[in-house]
């Protein structure tokens, strides 16, 4: 099973929008490697033709009536934002 390298951990950190120091990267690489080796034990099981389970209950397409209801007030929603202005979230300039 997979042996994970520091470079791969860096790549995954980029995908996950995380940042690690050099020491953290090494520690995470070792820990993730141990965990991946452990979960690799699933490889030994034959699952040919077994349907995957994504939900543990038998329930599909739970519809409800489409009724117009009040939404949360904008001021209350933006009150938790680190920065907001005129009912909008403010983010760093991107262009």
């Amino acid at each position: 099973m997979a042996h994970i390298t520091v470079e791969e951990v860096e790549h995954v950190a980029q995908l996950a929008r995380l940042r690690f120091s050099k020491d953290e990267l090494e520690e995470f690489t070792n820990q993730l490697d141990a965990i991946l080796r452990f979960v690799g034990k699933l490889e030994s099981l034959d699952t040919e033709g077994v349907e995957p389970t994504y939900r543990a209950i038998e329930i599909v397409n739970c519809f409800r009536e489409d009724v117009v209801k009040p939404s949360l007030p904008i001021e209350e929603v933006t009150a938790n934002a680190p920065e907001s202005e005129e009912g909008a979230f403010v983010v760093p300039r991107i262009i």
Binding site: L15, A16, R17, R19, I35, F38, K41, T47, A56, N80
Partner: protein, 487 residues
């Protein structure tokens, strides 16, 4: 009159309805108790004294008008992963330290309608990731039976507060054992209901196909009453089951004559503390004496459950936790050079190591080239685990097993070895993967005086069988009313 702090929900109901104690007096007593012992246990992240007293006042009005429901005026603690309008809901994370939800979780709405009282929000492993509550970004919670030990996790605050009599009962959440394992370590009752029985609306998501809210209480009947109050269909949760709530408390009064109790050989393996096995075997004999029939069963894929879980749960978590980007709510890093940098700095500073580890593992398992080998494979093995239970429940009505391989371990003992920590969830994880209900019940103490828990599992929506079996066993064991003193 008996000390009100020792009373269960129905005793308190009678006492309040008969005017022997008011909801306000009861709430004040609990607030005083928190004041007196929480500096030792540290279960509460936030004590909501003002809210509690005003809710208690309203509860007294309801009682006076004869409009009291089972939970009116009952002081409860709430795991800090459940959204409470205008009240900090931190998930014990730096990321949500100042987050005040603009809405209430469905379970909170239901408790409020009944006139229940909220004493405060309880500590947990950050974002419910952990088995010891040591991953809280704020502080460790201590086991009321031995302050040098962990209370279990992730609902460690919820279990410790109930055991230390700092609330009548509490709500926790269970993704891989996070209600049952701390309940076991703190000597209280904990139930992870069938997936879909309790609405997840307003429960901060960890792994959406596994998460479920449930009660932690000092008796089986209290668990039944609290579950009755919060369960039931909710159109705001698409996985909520459209089905009436059965009378769970009534099920506590049924006899267990003829009940078939399955004993899975895969749960009685090397590495399980001898006293844990001994105590559970003793409890099984009690069940047999009370008319239950013991059946040997097998759940052959148990050994693959942890690996399956840590792929599925982390994959779902990596997606769920992508919402913490420093834009809409929560923490944002102070210094950054551009948008990407803001995301990374915010998440690097806002999340603790275990949360990062799980986001990384989940992201890896879902990334290009690895999806089939990890996520799909794990989802297939999940089917095998589901099928194990289906087969087993043809031979028995309820399964009995340990909750955790050992009693509560020492603070710091496993915190630097994530894999070792994960292995302590071996007996609780299969229940979440299969979506079935599982209940943890105190069944004895080890030589250090630490509580031991017995786990009962049943098929989908078979909570009534669990309550019947558990309440009979609780009576048969007669362990009730032994609580740590702490004063």
């Amino acid at each position: 009159m008996k000390d009100v702090l020792d009373m269960g929900i129905s005793e308190l109901r009678n006492a309040m309805d008969e005017g022997k104690v008011s909801a306000q007096e009861l709430t004040t007593q609990y607030l005083d108790r928190i004041e007196a012992v929480d500096k030792k246990v540290r279960a509460y992240v936030t004590v909501t004294e003002e809210v509690a007293l005003s809710q208690a006042k309203a509860a007294d009005e309801m009682i006076k008008k004869g409009k009291a429901g089972p939970l009116t005026g009952i002081p409860l603690g709430i795991k800090d992963v459940i959204c409470t309008k205008g009240i900090p809901t931190t998930c014990s994370s730096r990321m949500l330290k100042d987050f005040r939800p603009p809405f209430n979780a469905t379970v909170m709405e239901r408790l409020a309608e009944q006139g229940a009282v909220m004493l405060g929000k309880l500590n947990m492993d950050e974002f419910a990731m952990g088995s010891s509550t040591e991953n809280s970004a704020f502080f460790e919670t201590r086991n009321p039976w031995d302050l040098d030990r962990i209370p279990g996790g992730s609902s460690g605050g919820s279990a410790a507060a109930v055991a230390a009599r700092m609330c009548v009962a509490s709500l926790g959440s269970d993704t891989g054992g996070s209600i049952r394992q701390p309940a076991s370590h703190c000597g209280v009752v904990g139930l992870k209901p069938t997936y879909g029985l309790v609405s997840r609306y307003g429960l901060v998501a960890f792994a959406s196909s596994l998460d479920q809210i449930g009660p932690l209480t000092r008796s089986v009947e209290d668990a039944a009453l609290l579950l009755e109050a919060v369960a039931g269909h909710d159109s705001r949760d698409s996985t909520s089951l459209p089905r009436p709530v059965p009378p769970f408390a009534k099920a506590c009064r049924q006899a267990m004559e003829g009940l078939r109790v399955g004993i899975p050989k895969e749960y009685f393996i090397d590495g399980v503390q001898e006293e844990v096995v001994g105590s559970i075997r003793q409890a099984l004999r009690v069940m047999q004496d009370m008319g239950a029939e013991l059946v040997d069963i097998s759940l052959p894929h148990t050994e693959y459950a942890i690996a399956t879980y840590y792929i599925i749960a982390t994959a779902e978590a990596s997606s769920n936790l992508s919402r913490y980007d420093g834009v809409k709510y929560g923490f944002r890093a102070k210094d950054y050079s551009n948008l990407m940098d803001m995301y990374k700095e915010t998440r690097a500073q806002g999340f603790g190591p275990e949360v990062k580890r799980r986001i990384m593992l989940g992201t890896y398992c879902l990334s290009a080239g690895y999806y089939d080998a990890f996520y799909k494979k794990a989802s297939q093995v999940r089917t095998l685990i589901v099928d194990d239970f289906k087969k087993a429940f043809k031979e028995c009505d309820v399964i009995a097993a340990p909750v955790a391989p050992t009693t509560a371990f020492k603070i710091g003992e496993k915190v630097n070895d994530p894999l070792k920590m994960y292995l302590s969830d071996i007996f609780t994880i299969p229940v979440n993967l299969a979506g079935i209900p599982g209940l943890s019940l105190p069944c004895g103490f080890d030589q250090n005086g630490l509580p031991i828990g017995l786990q009962l599992m049943a098929g989908h929506l078979q909570e009534e069988i669990l309550f019947t079996a558990a309440s009979n066993l609780e009576k048969g064991l007669g362990l009730n009313n032994r609580w740590p003193d702490l004063t």
